[in-house]
Symmetry: C2
Subunit: 273 residues, 2 copies
Amino acid sequence: MTDQNAPIGVFDSGVGGLTVVKEIMHQIPNERIVYFGDTARVPYGSKSKETITRYSRQIVRFLQTRKVKAIVAACNTASAYALDEIEKEVDLPMIGVVKPGVKAALSATRNGRIGVIGTEGTVRSGIYSQYIKEMEPGADITGKACPLFVPLVEEGLWQDPVTDEIAKRYLSELIGENIDTLVLGCTHYPLIRETLGRIMGQGVVLVNPAYETARELLELLEEKALLRCEESRLGDNKYEFFVSDSSEKFMRFANSIIKYGILSAKTINIEEY
Amino acid sequence: MTDQNAPIGVFDSGVGGLTVVKEIMHQIPNERIVYFGDTARVPYGSKSKETITRYSRQIVRFLQTRKVKAIVAACNTASAYALDEIEKEVDLPMIGVVKPGVKAALSATRNGRIGVIGTEGTVRSGIYSQYIKEMEPGADITGKACPLFVPLVEEGLWQDPVTDEIAKRYLSELIGENIDTLVLGCTHYPLIRETLGRIMGQGVVLVNPAYETARELLELLEEKALLRCEESRLGDNKYEFFVSDSSEKFMRFANSIIKYGILSAKTINIEEY
């Protein structure tokens, strides 16, 4: 029987998934979280389905050693490529960021014309289109891969003329499609939300799947009677962070996303799992 | 006893090392080459010494299974972080790209003021400074990490106003240092050589370690009596390419670097070595 006081496992290719962790901390503040960022093999977005599935499987095995009660794939590429396969193999509730993003997009759109931006992997997988079409066959989806956004965000150019220029190029196609809703299909993108919003214009709603993911996680835990019931105490190690490469850069970036103040992250060799 | 007709092993984090392969093909055309690109874990430049050493060790083990007679670390980050340690463990001649780059820089400079651009790892390692100082204690070295160059090159923006703008920012510091020689300390950078040369101005010599690396490899093979003596025949599989992630993107990029026409690359699971 699963321990309802066990932590939630959250993973990502690196730091981007912390935008999801931040939402979970905000919406379900009593929960414990074990985060894993695959900083030794980041990025996922340009790699193949086979490789991302193998990596995700190793990470899920690692999270199981931490006795998590549920797993969130807080990475669009992993959600797109690996989730369907891995959730069949694992006896734990799992959710990704794609389905919550789809629901949020469908409730936001008025004209049924939705844009999705993400990594090459996420866009090539066509998973957003597939789920949107399943729920709303009349919807019209345009996907656009934006491979430079992650390096630009990681270089700290969140507000910069170069990011503006690159964003204008990537988004021009979507503007031509007359979309009214844009899914930020990569966990790094909320960090350049202001730039994206300015370029798309006021008529376009930007959907950040992180918010909806945390909400679905809450529902899932309620439904399965897995909400943590004990209270947090000082020093009970509520949030734990693990990475596969040395944690210095992770820490710097992590603390710019989460104001909580991450004091340490442990490095593990993920290839051993 | 080593077989002089065995292939040379060349490795890199991904596709960049093909700029070195191209030089070897040109300068030592009779040699066979086995290339490995670690496309499942690319990039190396932002990761730690410990991780890069572990990865390089796995790759060397893989190349040994291919019975190579010598190994070229055609990646500056791997040369900077891992080469010293691994060459002690392996009974094969190994060379990297850093020492050849240093020699070329020292023979090019007139005022002893040398700039080195590379990944965060290469620049942080300080290895170029260390080798240059050992050979020429009076030299003055300025290193500058340029983390966006690799993604820009891989996005195909070899000649683009955005690459210009980013290059101007990175290089402004070096221009202020009055250097007369700039080492392209990452195998991707020769592909934006024209942009870099234009920004640095005619008074600055750009050093591409690939050329000097192929020359040193030739000397090494001569010295150890390891030059291939048999002649190439049609269909003798002279050049073999291996990658750790699916080869589609690799092939596209590879064929834009090497006009030889790479017809196939095999995918292997490098974590098993």
